[in-house]
Amino acid sequence: MITTIIYTIVCLVVLGLLFSVVLYLVAQMFKVEEDPRVDIVESLLPGANCGGCGLAGCHAFAEDVVKASSIGSFYCPVGGDAVMEKIATALGQEAVKTEPRVAVIKCHGTFDNRAKTNCFDGYASCKVMASLYSGDTGCKYGCLGKGDCVSVCKFDAIHLDEKRGIVEVDEEKCVACGACVKVCPKSIIELRPKGPKNRRVYVSCSNKDKGAIARKACSVSCIGCGKCAKVCAFEAITIENNLAYIDASKCKLCRKCIDECPTNAIWAVNFPLKVAVTPNKVEVQNPVVKNEN
């Protein structure tokens, strides 16, 4: 009996010894240097692998951040400043703060605002449509309404309103990763600063045609008349190619331009109710369903 126990002990201890010695030697012989910080950074990242940072997923981000001398040019839109700060601390650097942003759709050409001129009969994708022609309405610049941006959004933050033929961003869910901006063939999505209390003013149109043509194509188009730019006391509005643009960093949210715009192309969102009775919003409340597709 005792011998069995002794054999047991001897046998196992010898095995253990052998094991550790051999492993140690092998480990010494085949040593590989690896930057352990990559793993640390990766573990800090949200792991959504959305590519919103412009790199091929979170691991690539971690590798590049570690390699780079400063993290200034890196930003993870999903994790936001909080995560960037953590990474910065982990790497012993200062984080750069970025204003929180949100995607806005610079077009409001719903079915009742612009008429269809032809009927697209191909694969329902904005990219496919844009590769073939200017679109199924008179406006060559507006939303094609096939929802490429919807399907590319990893956060379910953008939705196609089938009845009105336009996409809408869910501000709560949008993390400003920019995937929709990249995919939209008409380049009508912009990441704009969220603004104080989420309030912002922007031109919800991308039409660069001359006023008359734009007007004919769509009833809420920006016709480049310039009234808004004139009325703006802060020089926040510029007109280029018959299209107004509001610089968010200059805009003080006074909303004078909104009343000035003859076509209701300027949008103000998240202001107290009073303003919600602008013609735009009225229309939002009574959507006229007219999808002829």
Binding site: T4, C11, L12, L15, F19, L23, V26, F30, V32
Partner: protein
């Protein structure tokens, strides 16, 4: 002839994954891509052959003479763990690409039941290859082990091919990932039952 029977039996008829239920976790885990699956099968084959060799010798030249067969589990797993870690360290140095591909699963080979499972089967079970029940000798053991590993490789490679194709398909959401993989495995097991009785 006996070796052929051993091989056919271990690869097809009593496939280690599809009918013995060994090594399922890495089977499900490392089968996203055919290339990884191939790498994994190579690693498993290597580790299995090596560890069965070692454990066979350990069993018959240490444990049995000393009368401490009950130490099987502990000593076998220690040997296997050591081997795997060695392979891991060496692989990391020699082929970082393969190391990257197999990722965290290399250490998991240790906890791959099929390595320990086959090592135990070989020394504990009687087999009926070609003749009446008997214990395997060293040569047979190694051939059997390698055949088991090949069977594992076959199953995981076919499976990885299927999963690659499934990635292109529109699987209903709740079934994505493990459930569909299990269903595929189940149907593969069903298909492999066709080999029943061949040896």
């Amino acid at each position: 002839m006996e070796y052929i029977i051993i091989i056919i039996s271990a690869v097809f008829v009593n496939n280690i994954v599809l009918s013995q239920f060994l090594g399922i976790c890495p089977f499900l885990g490392v089968s996203q891509k055919v290339n990884t699956a191939l790498g994994m099968s190579a690693a498993v084959t290597f580790v299995m052959a090596l560890s069965t060799l070692a454990t066979y010798l350990l069993q018959y030249y240490v444990l049995v003479p000393l009368g401490i067969e009950f130490l099987q589990t502990v000593s076998f797993i220690l040997v296997i763990a050591g081997l795997v870690q060695m392979v891991e360290i060496i692989l990391k140095k020699i082929s970082p690409a393969l190391y990257q591909a197999l990722g965290i699963f290399l250490p998991l080979i240790t906890t791959n039941c099929c390595v320990l499972g086959v090592a135990l089967l070989v020394v504990n079970n009687e087999f009926t290859f070609g003749s009446d029940p008997h214990m395997l000798n060293l040569g047979q053991s190694v051939v059997y082990t390698v055949a088991c590993a090949l069977g594992y490789g076959l199953a995981i490679t076919l499976f990885a091919g299927i999963r690659e194709q499934l990635d292109l398909n529109n699987i209903p959401k709740v079934f994505r990932g493990v459930p569909i993989a299990l269903i595929v495995t189940g149907i593969m097991a069903m298909a492999f039952i066709g080999f029943a009785g061949i040896v």
